[in-house]
């Protein structure tokens, strides 16, 4: 990977005096897909528009290949080296073919070249058979494929995607996501992909940026962001349901004893006695056993007794909340739920390994 293709410096964006984006420094690396995730209203789309030079910041500047971009100079030239796809396909009235050709015609590309590239792009997105169809007769998935083909036909240096799958049904979304991933893996276009869906970010992102409240809180590989969030806000957003406040009592041979309300936990990791920490546990790291089961202490050093207070269906699993004095959330397959004879009110043991928790050091 080479240097940054886009860089934000000391950026602030305010709408009617309200700060919606505050990014002191942010880079997008060439050839990588950067997934920007965060809850609604986090400022993700504003960030994307700034990176695409579709909006001007209130303060700070955006650099393209190290150079500032000005509205009276190279703005149009730089914009023409990029392409955007939004949540709505936003196709113009006319045929699919005409829409895919739109960006090339705006650039006054030779008509033979337009025809060749349009055919190629439509074939890549699997919409060749729709070439002469009117855009208003397309389904949501087909329309979004046209929108992607219209952007990719431009062979952009920067590809901006703002929640392109948000309005699609799950099977359509999955199909399109797989196709897009294959295209991005093959062409290595520098891509910024905004989504509120963690799974989409995991599937597409080479790096993931987590935005909350207008600030970029963490930028890292997907594995690190999801396994090692830097603070409680990020942890909650990336799906860590159980976050226990505690302090380190002692450390011995890389194993720390951490006091949390009502329990003493054993946690692996570089910790210092006396420091305050957040112990983060992903639901899938916790195993449930019926009360009275005999467990080996070597595999699951932490065993907390409690009572199931609720269970929510989540696809093929249940998300089970256990009151152990502290609330712990675990994931259990429907099959295990039945086999263990679990129900709301049942007494259980929530067990997890010392290496399972991610520990956040409190400042």
């Amino acid at each position: 990977m080479t240097g940054p293709i886009l860089c934000l410096e000391r950026i602030k964006v305010t709408y009617d005096g309200m700060l919606v984006l505050d990014a002191s420094f942010f880079e997008v690396h060439e050839g990588q897909t950067l997934a920007v995730i965060g809850p609604n209203g986090a400022g993700k789309s504003t960030l994307l528009r700034l990176l695409g030079f579709l909006e001007r910041p209130t303060e700070g500047r955006v650099l393209f290949r190290g150079q500032p971009v000005s509205s009276c100079g190279n703005l149009l030239t730089v914009r023409r080296r990029m392409a955007s796809v939004f949540q709505e396909p936003l196709l113009t009235d006319g045929t699919v073919e005409g829409n895919v050709a739109l960006g090339l015609r705006l650039r006054r590309v030779d008509s033979t070249e337009v025809s060749r590239r349009v055919q190629e792009s439509m074939a890549m997105l699997g919409i060749g058979h729709l070439a002469t169809r009117r855009t208003r007769t397309l389904s949501g998935g087909e329309a979004q494929r046209v929108s992607l083909a219209r952007a990719l036909v431009l062979d952009p240096e920067v590809f901006l995607l703002d929640e392109p799958f948000a309005a699609l049904d799950p099977p359509t979304r999955e199909g399109l996501l797989l196709d897009l991933k294959a295209i991005l893996d093959k062409r290595r276009i520098s891509t910024i992909f905004v989504t509120h869906d963690r799974n989409e970010a995991l599937a597409l992102g080479d790096r993931v940026a987590v935005m909350i409240g207008g600030r970029v809180l963490q930028v890292d590989t997907p594995e690190r962001v999801f396994a090692e969030p830097i603070n409680e806000e990020v942890a909650r957003f990336v799906g860590i349901e159980t976050i226990l406040r505690g302090h380190v009592q002692s450390v011995s041979q890389g194993l720390a004893t951490v006091e949390v309300p009502g329990w003493t936990l054993e946690v692996a990791g570089p910790l210092t006695p006396g420091e305050r920490v957040l112990v983060c546990l992903r639901p899938e790291e916790i195993t449930l056993f019926p009360r009275g089961a005999v467990l080996s202490t070597s595999s699951a050093r932490n065993q907390l007794c409690g009572r199931v207070i609720r269970h929510l269906p989540a696809g093929p699993t249940y998300q089970v909340t256990i009151d152990c004095g502290v609330l712990i959330v675990a994931t259990v397959t429907r099959q295990s739920w039945e086999q263990l004879g679990l129900q709301d009110g049942a007494e259980v043991i929530a067990a997890f390994k010392a290496t399972a928790p991610h520990v956040i050091h409190c400042v």
Binding site: A83, S84, F86, L90, D93, L106, R136, L154
Partner: protein, 232 residues
């Protein structure tokens, strides 16, 4: 009732035999209102586009003024255009009063706010994100405007129909600035009034039927163009 029936019969005969006077009046009406509508498009579409797409202080007031102008009474327009073109008026030196040009000017004042207001509405009914999408695909400012107008072409045709409808059917302004002069400024509406006042109901009915046919014909053509684009 008999009077009406007799009038209609004679009117049809007048039309079928192609009465030269009736045809002259019809062509002049079409010419004056057609030119006024075309000019109103040249003025109204750019102004409407700017009002719909730009943000500037006083924009809201400007749109309100345009919307008010859409209901401008033709008599009031006739009065002020007459004052301006009067021999001692600010534009009196042009000697345009009681000429077809004066009628075109008056009709332009009536049609331009209609076209402007409907252009604003036509562009504003487009998805506001479309503009950003076009910019995101590399469209220049002029290309964005062109593409948005192209997307709004169906409601813009409605603006054209409304503009033409407003001027072909008005009488107050044409009468005041044109004077209903025989073979010079006599149009379908003013001639209908004159023939009615003379008691020539057959001629009046013929003229009004022609006015209806003309309006219908123009609107059918424009509607056909408009709806042709809607067929999947």
């Amino acid at each position: 009732m008999e009077l009406i029936w007799q009038g209609i019969t004679q009117a049809v005969l007048l039309l079928v035999h192609g009465d030269p006077e009736v045809l002259r009046i019809m062509l002049l009406s079409l010419q004056i209102s057609g030119i006024a509508t075309l000019l109103s498009l040249l003025i109204g579409i750019p102004i409407g586009t700017i009002l719909a797409l730009s943000r500037f202080p006083g924009r809201g007031i400007a749109i309100s003024l345009v919307n008010t102008g859409m209901g401008l009474p033709p008599v009031v327009v006739g009065l002020f255009v007459s004052i301006f073109l009067w021999r001692s008026g600010p534009l009196g030196f042009l000697e345009l009063l009681y000429t077809p040009t004066a009628m075109i000017l008056a009709q332009l004042v009536i049609a331009a706010p209609v076209v402007t207001g409907l252009t604003v509405a036509a562009i504003q009914q487009l998805n506001p994100r479309l503009r950003m999408q076009l910019v995101g695909l590399g469209a220049s400012r002029l290309q964005v405007v062109y593409l948005l107008l192209k997307e709004a072409r169906l409601p813009l045709l409605a603006a054209l129909m409304a503009g033409f409808g407003a001027v072909i059917s008005e009488i107050g302004a044409s009468m005041m600035v044109g004077g209903n002069i025989y073979r010079q400024t006599r149009v379908l509406t003013t001639a209908t009034v004159l023939e009615t006042s003379r008691g020539n109901f057959d001629m009046a009915i013929a003229l009004s039927l022609l006015l209806l046919l003309l309006t219908f014909g123009v609107n059918v053509t424009l509607t056909w163009i408009q709806q042709r684009g809607r067929t999947p």
